[in-house]
């Protein structure tokens, strides 16, 4: 159902672009927003509204991740520039809630993209993931920050 809605949205966008006749990015984005809005109004009374809630969740998660990314970049920049290192690096074992291949791949890519953390490996039975972090004074706090900050929003989008 999700894929059907998305394809419908893209089809409406293409129709909008063909009708207006100007083939550039701004028009594409505008057409996508217009068709999204139209579909939202049309399907107000139907039960299956997952596509519309997920779209906002994805947008929110994207900006949240961008914010985290810049914050961590500034932290790491400070660490690199100062003369004495204050970091306390270490390798941490984190139990996984994500189960399928796609979820684990997305999660580990996101963890690797955040500066200061790096995924080393996923265990063969897919229950734990090994993470190298730059600030691990408190192990529980470190695991919690990844679980709350990345894994939970990701899983709420994927499932």
């Amino acid at each position: 159902m999700m894929q059907k809605r998305f394809l419908m949205n893209v089809l409406l966008t293409v129709i909008w672009v063909a009708l207006t006749g100007s083939f550039d990015y701004l028009n594409f984005i505008f057409g996508f927003l217009v068709s999204f809005f139209v579909m939202w109004i049309i399907s107000r009374n139907t039960d299956d509204r997952k596509y519309f809630t997920i779209a906002f969740k994805v947008l929110g998660f994207f900006f949240f991740f961008l914010y985290e990314f810049f914050k961590a970049t500034i932290e790491v920049a400070y660490e690199v520039m100062t003369k004495r290192f204050q970091m306390k690096p270490g390798i941490i074992k984190m139990p996984l809630d994500a189960k399928t291949d796609l979820e684990i791949t997305l999660l580990s890519n996101l963890i690797s993209l955040t500066p200061g953390t790096l995924v080393l490996d996923v265990s063969e039975d897919r229950t734990v993931i090994y993470i190298h972090g730059m600030y691990v004074e408190d192990k529980v706090k470190f695991i919690n920050s990844i679980k709350e900050g990345l894994e939970k929003p990701l899983l709420s989008i994927m499932r």
Partner: protein, 138 residues
């Protein structure tokens, strides 16, 4: 106006790349170097490419740049993961001030498969196995 936008993007990108370069020179071990460099360099190149997209501002060029940025962001974590896995097996040392190391002794020595619980000592591959092997690799 558009010149100033390009200047800002290029400056931020170049500074991020410089940060990655200083990081790779200063950081004390392989894992820290990787975790600083891969992201900062990706961010820097992404910003410089966005500046280029503003300069040309054509549909064809912009979609090409989006493709390059997407490709770099997808491949950077993969290559970081591959290097880190290889560097464990050539027994790269952790920095001496590191606090914990829960990966040590989790790999099977023969099959290179990773377990989630502690292995018995005779099959586990330890980071500091025997000194001769480390010397030989260097």
């Amino acid at each position: 106006m558009i010149d100033i936008i390009i200047m800002i993007f290029c400056t931020l990108g170049a500074l991020a790349v410089l940060l990655a370069a200083i990081g790779v020179l200063r950081m004390p071990d392989v894992y820290l170097r990787l975790s600083v460099t891969t992201k900062a360099a990706t961010l820097g190149i992404g910003l410089i490419l966005v500046g280029a997209a503003f300069h040309f501002s054509e549909v064809g060029v912009t979609s090409r740049i989006i493709a390059i940025i997407f490709f770099i962001t997808v491949t950077a974590p993969v290559s970081a993961y591959l290097i880190v896995r290889a560097s464990y097996f050539i027994k790269a040392k952790l920095w001496e001030h590191s606090i914990v190391d829960e990966l040590n002794g989790m790999y099977d020595k023969k099959t290179h498969s990773l377990s989630s619980t502690d292995l018995p000592d005779e099959v586990a591959s330890h980071r500091t196995d025997d000194e001769e092997e480390i010397e030989e690799i260097k």
